[in-house]
């Protein structure tokens, strides 16, 4: 009877929850796609080339490394995801060699020298991005105006954060916040934006200045995948439902960052007072949502326990705030996250779960 059954011998548990590493990676990839498609839509078809360049380079690098160590890791989807995230973090006009170098750096140096998926302590996509950012700062800070705003071909411009940052260096005017500041500097807005803003202002009694809707929807210059906060949020809903990402990191990240911006973000403007920072502006620009939802939550490089995740998210929020408001880089999300990656092993050491039956007082007598 037993001879032909060829039964499997395995250790308990004999049943498993569905889901796998690969399914997680592919789910994240798919949830990112709408934002990527938006990027192609607003920045032109060339962006597709950038995305493909980074993904293909990442996959080829992964295949080469997997071949070297005789493992089959392509189908786990992590290389595609890394490549896609690198593409998302590139300016639309970036020369193709930059995403390729970033992908190869990410896969070969950040991931495989540490033994492949799971071994790395730093988010490969972000490390790759930071590597090329410091190597080719020029092309990496050259932005393209979305087609909707120019109604013609792609035009080089500054990103909103970049414009605010370099503009403030010599600013003597009286704008009370970045959005107003940009409007003053003649930053364009789409028809939809002015329409929706005035509708909101008249119907709900807000006093929003123009531009926020553009920022939320993604009609602003920026990295390919980061501009559309709306689509990034929509994509993340599925990930929250599937529990691929948990609330701790995004919430603590965004909350701490937003709070700090609200308190100190306005001090760089003319009236220099506290508690009037433009939180929405900073949340909707500079890849904050891409970072907080998709990159800081990378399981490999984030803490294990929910307490640790809260600390990690808060730290990332603080660092993003510091770098963005005071540092020499306009956005700061990627640097903040890889800095926090360094702290993760330490956070993990100090946020272990309470063990059952340890330090319990004896009840009897």
């Amino acid at each position: 009877m037993s001879d032909n059954l060829n039964l499997l011998i395995e250790s308990s548990p004999q049943i498993k929850q569905s889901g796998s590493t690969a399914s997680v990676m592919w789910a994240v990839t798919i949830c990112l796609l709408p934002a990527g498609i938006w990027g192609v839509w607003v920045f032109g078809i060339r962006v597709l080339g950038v995305l493909f360049a980074s993904i293909i380079a990442a996959v080829i690098a992964e295949a080469a490394m997997a071949y070297l160590v005789k493992k089959n890791t392509i189908q786990d989807g992590s290389a595609v995801l890394t490549g896609l995230l690198i593409g998302f973090n590139m300016p639309p006009s970036v020369p193709y060699y930059i995403p390729v170098v970033a992908s190869v750096f990410a896969i070969v140096i950040v991931k495989w020298t540490f033994g492949g998926l799971g071994g790395n302590f730093m988010n490969p996509a972000l490390a790759g991005r930071v590597f090329v950012f410091f190597s080719w700062t020029g092309p990496m800070t050259k932005w393209t105006m979305p087609a909707v705003l120019t109604r013609i071909d792609a035009v080089t411009t500054a990103s909103p954060l970049g414009a605010v940052k370099s503009g403030l260096l010599e600013y003597t005017g009286s704008a009370d916040g970045p959005a107003r500041f940009l409007s003053e500097a003649g930053y364009p807005h789409s028809v939809m934006d002015t329409g929706i803003t005035s509708w909101l202002n008249s119907n709900f009694g807000f006093s929003l200045s123009d531009g926020y809707v553009d920022m939320f929807v993604g009609n602003i210059p920026g990295s390919i995948g980061e501009v559309s906060v709306l689509l990034l949020l929509l994509g993340s809903i599925y990930l929250f439902i599937r529990k691929i990402i948990t609330w701790e990191i995004p919430v603590s990240y965004i909350a701490v960052f937003g709070l700090l911006i609200w308190i100190f973000g306005g001090t760089r403007f003319s009236d220099g007072s506290y508690f009037n920072g433009d939180v929405l502006f900073h949340l909707f620009t500079g890849g904050l949502f891409l970072g907080a939802l998709y990159m800081a939550t990378d399981m490999v490089t984030s803490p294990l326990t929910s307490k640790g995740m809260l600390i990690y998210g808060a730290g990332a929020g603080l660092l993003t705030f510091l770098i963005r408001i005071y540092g020499s880089f306009p956005e700061g999300v990627s640097l903040a996250i890889i800095l926090m990656n360094i702290f993760v092993p330490m956070i993990d050491q100090y946020t272990k779960p309470k063990r059952f039956g340890i330090e319990t007082k004896k009840v009897v007598k």
Partner: protein, 206 residues
Amino acid sequence: MLKEFTKGLIKENPVFIIVLGLCPALGVSTKVINSLGMGAGVIFVLLGSNIFVSLLKDFIPDKVRIPAYIVIIASFVTIVEMVMEAFIPALYDSLGVFVPLIVVNCIILGRAEAFANKNTIKASILDALGMGIGFTLALILIALIREVFGLGTITLFPIGSFSGVIEIPGLVDSPVRVFGLAAGALLVMGFLKALFTWIEDIRRVK
């Protein structure tokens, strides 16, 4: 006897195998010329200190061994410093604080402690030359990689009409700048060390 000389080149290369003298190895290796200058300085100091330590090994009391060696080393370093500043000020500037820091280059004290105070002058000289040249070669290797990728150039001595700078087409316009920075130095060092470990492993199995 020749072994004392050759061992420093590869088998006991101070940078890649013994992993000493890292700070200058990484700090100055942004350009090949700097590596050459640093290497020359180290060879000179190493030679001097090895000779004197070897000479004085019976005179120096054990308890103040380290301070005594350091005084000897520091003297030679200061000489290098002054001579370099006087005669090749450009190089002195680009090496910066790393010239006085030759004093604390672990290689020099390490050789004094591990070799010169146990061996004859002749062996110590050979050891110093071998280690010094090994160190210099290692520095040049690191600098070559970092400069080619990080700046797209190879900077050597200007001789006659040759300005001393070789430009690598393609890279010189948009070099991978991180190679020239701290992060690049550490990464390059890590990969070179891995390469040497790998070679060593293959040799050992054979």
